[in-house]
């Protein structure tokens, strides 16, 4: 009987223990910029889901492509209709790990450089990527930032010849996630 009570107590406490190791945001920010000879195009999305599991280092990000906002309406239309085809591929994602998660102590304020490795899926194409980022820890809140570059052709995003002066072949991406402990 004692054993059963102990097992039940352990089982009921387990989800809490697992949650205590997870940090999340549903308001993560991703921006990208294309710098081409004729035009610089920027877009911003601040409704990005991100989660970090402190025990395993698992770091996952989920992005709705239709949430990217552009300065010009026509650019936004072309982005969704012609380039990322957001009706066919509404989500992009990153599934990966922070390989040096042991260096990140959420109880100690300060900044830690992290190595991120995983699979980035955009436009239905998945590619392995590595990036360097940092986490600033302030009173248990983690602010993660990183900058990296992707090549559009890697994700089967074709730029027509007529737009080659307006859209760069590579895109610089900046991310910022303010992660709080899942209660």
């Amino acid at each position: 009987m004692k054993k059963i009570i102990m097992i039940l107590a352990f089982a009921s406490a387990l989800p809490l223990a697992l949650n205590a190791q997870k940090f999340i945001t549903k308001n993560g920010q991703i921006s990208f910029v294309s710098v081409a000879p004729l035009e610089t195009i920027e877009a911003h999305n601040d409704q990005v889901n991100a989660s970090l599991d402190m025990a395993s280092g698992d770091f996952n990000v989920k992005v709705l492509m239709q949430s990217f906002e552009f300065k010009k309406s026509l650019m936004q239309e072309h982005f969704n209709d012609n380039y990322v085809e957001s009706d066919k591929y509404p989500n992009s994602s990153f599934v990966g790990k922070i390989t040096n998660i042991r260096d990140l102590d959420t109880t100690k304020d300060g900044t830690v450089t992290v190595q991120v490795k995983g699979n980035l899926t955009i436009h239905g194409v998945t590619k392995s990527i590595d990036a360097v980022g940092s986490f600033q820890v302030t009173e248990g809140t983690l602010v993660g930032t990183s900058k990296f570059t992707i090549t559009l052709s890697d994700y089967n995003i074709a730029i027509p010849m007529v737009s080659s002066g307006n859209i760069s072949k590579t895109i610089d991406i900046t991310v910022k996630f303010t992660l709080t402990k899942l209660s």
């Binding site: 920010q29 601040d46 409704q47 889901n49 936004q76 989500n91």
Partner: protein, 144 residues
Amino acid sequence: MKTWLKILITLCLAGIVSAFLFNHYVINKPHPDYEKEPAKFSLKASELYKQYTTDRKTSEKKYNGQLIEIDGKYTRVEKSDTSSIVVFAFNQGMFGDEGIRCTLLPKYKTAIAAYPKGSEVKIKGFCSGYNDTDIILTKCSIQK
């Protein structure tokens, strides 16, 4: 004035006017007025969540990229670095509350204070889709 000169001036003026109109109405056309444009769909917030979570593909085709109006009792308002978000929570998942998240247009950030937590509210916004946990509405306005 010679006829050929008149034709040349007319063509030049027509070209300038066409270029201006093309630039104004095509290249630099404004974003839709999300606050004033009529919603394409109007339904209960709980019904929208149910549709997305039971038949995601059909709902994505129907609602993604559309201006929709939802109503129901909201759960809370969240404030991020950049925005205010009205949350309708319908489920508990691995990452906390799951439901509908409505990012308000800046002018409605304070207007939501008039609606006590848990009261009925009608919100119109642009539906970006479903991200496995929540349906995301952006450019939201509070409807009377």
